[in-house]
Symmetry: C2
Subunit: 519 residues, 2 copies
């Protein structure tokens, strides 16, 4: 390759170049690594670009580019009329030995096999990371909708054609004023429309100024956790309940206590027993996951507790659009005269979860703090989604879609009810469903619950064990936590009927197992 012998200051055989990738970049990296680990020591003269190009069978240009970058970054220096040398990094030598060198000696192996481990080997790992590790959030199931999946509305009915048109319309000619930094509390027009919607549909007399747009209900919960709690504060959550909320409070440093739920909702008198309780998180319209509606007496008791204790009540109205019979109770936020209730709503259960659009309705004195907290968290929500949703509401699509979704959910619920097996020992009957997108069915004991879930899974049907909605240190015995939680809106009627057929088949063998328990 070369017709005269070359003495190079390093072994070019060690530089293996992948001809499929950028050669100058690879050469730069190889030389830099040698400077950093000392194989090319300070003051060493580098070969001329022409010579190195020959040895490595590269274009001279590639070598020039690699040298240029090394030069720009200070690894090498050029001496006029002489040549190119590895820089004198004298002042770095200590740092290199105490700092980088240890890393270089172990190389990249430091990282291997650590991918799934949260810093457990770090002697000085931070508390928040530890809390995160101790409070692993069970991810909501992802992928295409399945029968009985919880939290998924009938988004097969969402008018995506309308949405696509509105998106295209917004983006074809956006106002420059909307493309820079926006209002952390959200686009004013969307806040106005949400306030009007809540006044009309929930009897919640709020103004646009009280609304803070969030990236879904989860960000609303997260902001509450970050802004209202300090480490060690007590937090009361419903048990069973929405585990992701409890996790969020725990990661923010709250001491989370589960409060039992009976047929009137959270047993509020138990709040007094929660040490240093600062905040109660509830789902009064349709308790998650049991479906209970909190009674008026409990609502008043909860508000009274908040006032006596300077406490906060977070009211998560995650599926309030779905009510099939009876008038809905006024939200806690509508009863609250002390500015103690923070109301959370979401578009995820009317449109689709991946939209990540929700809102908080705040007591006026909290608005500024939350708006600022949100500015620090994400600045604001993506502007297109907000403006398109505002158009969607202003043009009446939203109200029409709510009616469509309510009707669809009701129809799908009826299919679930009609096809629910009635002769499986230990499995309760399908209760009346007055609200929401899911229903809880009683199961006699934990073993039976697990068996039902496993047999369903074996035939490819997803049903959720109620036991997974309880906190681990619940006072209720394990058999008392058993049940099934079934979403009924996620897929069309035909698929629900088909899944029910498979369920009945999968559970049929259980009928012989304990004949005494049968009807």
């Amino acid at each position: 390759m070369s017709d005269r012998p070359l003495v190079l200051p390093f072994d070019p055989a060690g530089i293996v170049l992948d001809r499929q990738r950028g050669l100058s970049q690879q050469l730069y990296q190889a030389l830099r690594a040698r400077v950093l680990d000392g194989r090319l020591s300070s003051g060493t003269r580098l070969p001329a670009t022409r010579d190195l190009a020959k040895v490595l069978a590269l274009s001279r240009n590639s070598v020039v580019r690699a040298y240029d970058q090394l030069y720009a970054e200070g690894y090498i220096e050029s001496r006029v009329g002489d040549g190119t040398y590895v820089s004198r990094l004298a002042k770095l030598s200590t740092q290199l030995s105490t700092g980088l060198s240890r890393g270089l000696s172990t190389g990249l192996s430091t990282f291997e096999g650590e991918g799934t481990e949260v810093l457990s080997s770090n002697a000085r790992s931070s508390e928040p990371l530890q809390r995160l590790k101790n409070n692993h959030l069970p991810a909501p199931k992802s992928g295409a909708p399945r029968a009985f999946r919880v939290g998924i509305p009938a988004f097969d009915l969402f008018p995506f054609d309308v949405w696509a048109k509105l998106q295209a319309g917004f983006w074809r000619n956006p106002s420059p004023a909307q493309l820079g930094y926006g209002d952390p509390a959200g686009e004013p027009v969307l806040r106005e429309l949400i306030a009007a919607y809540l006044r009309r549909s929930r009897g919640l007399s709020c103004t646009a100024e009280q609304i803070v747009i969030t990236s879904g209900a989860q960000q609303a919960i997260s902001l509450c956790a970050q802004l209202l709690l300090q480490p060690g504060d007590g937090v009361a959550v419903e048990n069973p309940g929405y585990r992701a909320a409890g996790h969020t409070f725990a990661v923010a440093g709250g001491k989370v206590t589960g409060v039992p739920v009976d047929d009137e909702g959270m047993v509020c008198q138990r709040l007094e027993q929660v040490a240093n309780c600062r905040l109660a998180y509830v789902t009064p319209a349709h308790q998650y996951p049991t479906g209970v509606t909190m009674s008026l007496a409990r609502r008043l008791a909860l508000l009274a507790w908040a006032e006596r204790n300077d406490g906060w009540v977070i009211e998560d109205d995650y599926d309030g659009e779905y009510r099939y019979s009876g008038a809905p109770l006024a939200p806690l936020a509508a009863l609250d005269r002390q500015g103690r209730v923070l109301y959370i709503g979401t578009f995820g259960k009317i449109a689709f979860p991946a939209l990540r659009l929700g809102y908080l309705v705040l007591p006026p004195r909290l608005v500024q703090a939350f708006s600022q907290g949100r500015a620090l968290a994400v600045r604001h929500s993506e502007v297109g989604t907000q403006c398109v949703m505002a158009q969607f509401m202003a043009q009446g699509h939203f109200q029409r879609h709510i009616r469509r979704m309510r009707k669809a959910a009701l129809s799908r619920r009826n299919v679930l009810k009609a096809g629910w097996p009635v002769d499986v020992p230990g499995l309760g009957a399908m209760p009346e469903v007055a609200a929401g997108l899911h229903v809880k069915v009683a199961v006699d004991n934990y073993a039976r619950e697990q068996e039902l879930v496993a047999r369903a899974e074996a035939v490819g049907v997803e049903v959720n064990p109620l036991s997974s909605y309880w906190l681990e240190d619940s006072e209720v015995a394990v058999d008392g936590r058993a049940g099934l939680v079934l979403g009924f809106a996620a897929v069309p009627e035909g698929e629900i009927a088909e899944a029910l057929m498979r369920l009945r088949k999968a559970w049929r063998p259980l009928r012989g197992a304990s004949p005494l328990l049968q009807g």
Copy 2:
């Protein structure tokens, strides 16, 4: 109105109904208020719906609906064959007197005038809210772009037609699997494309698994603050620097210390003097706002510090796409062998800020924790924006747009340079700009800086005082903090030239003021 005398259990004259709004809802609210405050006491018999309708000149239907809701919510009860009574809320009486009644007696006046106050009167206000109050984030300027606005790219050149088409294309027929709950770390296809982009353009050999998509750079900073810090931890930030980052760390409980910046970037040897320093936040490619590039020696020193102290380095490469001369230095993250650097990038400076799309490149062992932290914060980013950006990148629009933007910024920078007044005493010359979207110009002292800013403002031109980028307790004397920070990309060349003309006119009188300083 009524032809027979009626004895009502309450004074109907007090119920004033607005005929423009829903009457049954108003009646329901009026009656509910009377039950709650005791004007309608427990056990009181309510008038028949027909009678009340007459007295109030309402349709009977409206009254029936109001009664229905009161009944559904438990405020009234019906006795078979008898009539309708206010519920016996005996068990609520204590709560009503200790709890709600105080609120009711003061009515809504509790809130008046409190709109702009962050809980200062709350004896038990939470620490996070207090920290937020003490660390007020200066909001970035909003509204249409202006000449010299900092942080705004030339988004007048963004191909909104392409973006609108991609948005419409995505939404017309989205995959159901993408509409439920997505990956908290972000859409896999976008993460792949970002990793490939960074490998190519920054020499950062990262994999898609190390990328976590965020809602802009701000959420990346916020996640770092929440997950890496515990209250009391020391945090080093550049001074002058990006104040919003410092605020975010302070609100998360960090003790923020400013470290001086010289012409090699952050003076890293000072880190040893920062008590219990856990984290250093830097902008090495183009220091914000001074524009300095961190030298290789400092980069190595910073990494060595992180390793010696189990510290974290946050490298915010907020405008790394803009480099006009010389090869860029490799990012800290490319030098890091110890997994101590968290690299932040954003699409906001190439597309437009309102997009709220950015990313973190994490050491592998941190990925799971950040992905979970993000799940708790917002679940994930809105799916459409992510998928459309992925298409935009995959189809080559992104690379083309970067070139277009770099060219535009350079051209706009040249106009700024050409028109910069050279004869204003105390105002420095326009320096060479090798990178970024803004430039720092020296000013002799604080008084002159304020005067320059005020005179510019008086003619409707926005220029930013460098003094506002310093921490309040800076060791540097106030005159040492003076300067101007000018964005040069936000508006087209003609508008920049026009603004410069106004500036020169506004500053002309200063030339006479201190003639000795001229020339």
